[in-house]
Amino acid sequence: MADIVHPPVHGEVHRHPAPTGFIRKYVFSTDHKVIGIQYWSLALFSVFVGMALSLLMRLQLGWPGQEFGFLKTLFPHAAENGTISGELYLSLLTMHGTVMVFFVLTTAPQGGFGNYFLPIQIGAADMAFPVLNMLSFWITFVALVVLMLAFCTNFFVDDPNMINVIGPIGGWTGYAPLSALGDKAGPGQGLGVILWITSIALFCVASLLGALNFITTMLNMRAPGMSLMRLPLTCWAWFTTAVLALLSFPVLLAAGILLLLDHLAGTSFFIPGGEYVSGKLITEHSGGSPILWQHLFWFFGHPEVYIAILPGMGLTSHVLSTFARKPVFGYRAMVYAIFAIGLLGFFVWGHHMFISGMSPYSAIAFSLVTLTIGVPSAIKTFNWLGTLWGGQIRFTTPMLFAIGFVSLFVSGGITGLFLGQTSIDIPLHDTYFVVGHFHLIMGVAAIFGMFAGTYFWFPKMFGKMMNEGLGKIHFLITFIGVNGIFIPFHVMGMAGAPRRYASHAGLEYAKSVMPMNRVISWIAFVTIAGQLIFLVNLIWSWAKGRKASDNPWEATSLEWTIPSPPPHDNFFGIEPTVHRGPYEYGVPGASKDYLMQTEAGPSEVHGD
């Protein structure tokens, strides 16, 4: 198919000078690259916070009730005798989930890498709405600050009757009415929940603004010759993610506002009449629905899973092709699979609610759609294998993490075949089987995507290479570690170990999970320690790393045609012209084994 190939626009140069003041350059910047790094840094901070919380949880799960002296210092009220109480455990868990899902999984892949590289990969000088972009980041930042405040309500509420905890205890899903009843329902459920849901509502607003920006940018700002089917798969993933965010975050925002109203304005959206809580009949609320929250939450919550994982899928395709030195296998199938996942993702939320009390007939419908969504996921896996097959693989660190992503995606995704079936879900629901499933796929697979992205793009973002040796050690420890932690979760779940339990010691039938818990804790400690290698590598490479060339990976997409790091206006004010698809590796007859998207010449046939 012939393309309209624009001639290079010689002479038409629109340079955008970089701002000079520190504040406009690094703090309230409208440069998508600075904003990308800001998002990425915010996620980096958050991921270490989230991981620290999981470390404390692993201490409790491995050695329930044991005294640890340092806990007294850390939580003078919530752990006054050095042990983790039931409510402290739950608030650690709630914060872990919220920080990880929103401020890591939703932030780094899209806000971080998407912001930085979508404009460059399509050949634009910036996002469509740079000021809106700045606003999105700073609202996200405020949301994180508010969440951290929810963490430490005990420091500024001086009520001797209130058990001191470090935040809400209802889990990241915040099911009502537990989340709607205030302190009566449990410590941290009053002010803690109010701050928590305010943070999430702010995050929704920021994500909405971001999504609008991504969609507009990709549709309107592509360089000449960058037809839709010449877009790198990363761009398709970011675009679809933005569409999902645009359609799902408003629903969570609405749910959040309703929950706030239940707390602050005395409404009863989620509180039915006749509640008897903590020894008292509640007369001021009636008429609400306890199941409404779940519908609203999961209508957002399931697309959210894909918001977290799609960018990782796009990046994995991109990185696998780059380092296998082979075009992506089935490019079009990959694009359609992303669409299919995005679309079907809106019709499966009920699989989180099979046992919630909703109609058993709708459960059957949700189950059928859920298993159908496995098909495009399988297509992606087949095509990744197809991309590797017959390649000349260069085992760089980003490539190892991308391969790890495929493995984790398979391990985490395939157990959805159990959970998506109504009948098998009955015993497995709310057990460690589910925890293992979603940690593998939306947790660590997505994080492997972020690691791959960091190792892959660090040279472009900071102009320095990361240390490959440390990177490989980091990969080995992390890959072995996460499998050692999360695969055993599945058999614990089969044995019936419920999730969100501060201890399984009280269950006779699940006695066998106790030693397992301890082994997993040890593996978790080693894996967490391994992440310090990553941190050291980041800092060391940033300060002292080898200088990166423009195109250290011999890759083809547009970000590799410009200096590392790129100038303020990306392409020096000259719009690049695109001549071919994004994955032209190993083209027969070409002088080298890769052809950049900007290279004119013969064989402009593929990837039209």
Partner: protein, 287 residues
């Protein structure tokens, strides 16, 4: 690095298969598996789990081994070029159709037990018990000798007076009712539970029945099951939906006893019921 990564994938595949299907081989016994199953539904769910496990096991192993093989086999060799291909529509269609069929068939098979459990009413003559969950306790309301449940209302609830379920003192049908924190059911006879909650969402989970259902305030959800003859015993009922700080402590027991003994027990007074419960708790051990 390709060799190491490939070997890791093989170890992952073998290790997982052993963990799920070969525990006996490594540990001498099966340490982590479903608890005993005491109902026909439990057996049917286990069978469907087994079928799915075979499909998943094959797909998982094939994918990990293929990935491991690819990274071992296709490592860079000097300056050689990779195979130049953009894919194959024939392959795309083949694997899409095959996975589509397998997944949809699994989904349809998976509905059978669900339909039996949830789309049919309990058989006539079922033993009826009302379950009222609260932070952090299970209450079980028995109808007594008259076979009629006394009227309950939230305004009559008084935990300090041990009226946990809110029995209306004026209703004569409730005079012989019993409120206990242990569930006693007959074996070999259908049991119909009405699940309610006083405060937040809880979840009624009996691992031995492979059964779980959320209990919601403001809703009464009817469920039913039958424990097989010969499965008399003591089983645990943990709460499976996060309900507050002591969620992990919210646990009760289900005593499955011979049907005639159950009838006598339910017909007796609340004091007598409680008395005999102690003896039953001694008689049966956890399986």
């Amino acid at each position: 690095m390709g060799k190491i990564t490939g070997v890791l994938m093989f170890i992952l595949a073998i290790g997982s298969v052993l963990l799920f299907m070969g525990q006996k081989l490594i540990f001498g016994s099966v340490l982590w598996w479903f608890p005993v199953g005491i109902s026909e539904h439990a057996a049917a769910i286990d069978a469907q789990f087994g079928r799915t496990l075979v499909v998943v096991g094959i797909a998982f192993t094939a994918a990990q081994v293929a990935l491991g093989y690819a990274v071992m086999k296709f490592g860079r060799k000097g300056d050689a070029r990779a195979v130049y291909t953009h894919g194959s529509n024939k392959l795309e269609v083949t694997w899409t159709v095959i996975t589509g069929i397998v997944f949809v068939v699994l989904a349809i098979l998976g509905q059978r037990v669900w339909a039996n459990l949830h789309l049919n009413a309990a058989a006539a003559g079922a033993a009826r018990i009302e379950v009222v969950a609260q932070q952090f306790q299970w209450n079980f309301h028995y109808h007594g000798a008259d076979g009629l449940f006394g009227k309950t209302e939230p305004r009559f609830i008084d935990d300090s007076a041990l009226n946990f379920v809110g029995l209306d003192p004026a209703d004569t049908a409730g005079r012989d009712d019993a409120q206990l924190t242990t569930l006693v059911i007959p074996v070999g006879r259908p049991v119909e539970l009405t699940l309610k909650s006083k405060d937040v969402i809880h979840s009624f989970f009996v691992p031995a029945l492979r059964f779980k259902q959320d209990t919601l305030p403001g809703m009464a959800i009817k469920v039913h099951f039958t424990v097989k003859e010969g499965e008399e015993g003591k089983y645990e009922i943990p709460c499976a939906e996060l309900c507050g700080s002591l969620h992990y402590n919210m646990k009760s027991n289900m005593l499955a006893i011979p049907a005639d003994e159950y009838d006598r027990l339910v017909a007796s007074s609340e004091e007598k019921f409680k008395e005999q419960l102690g003896e039953l708790m001694q008689r049966y051990q956890y399986k």
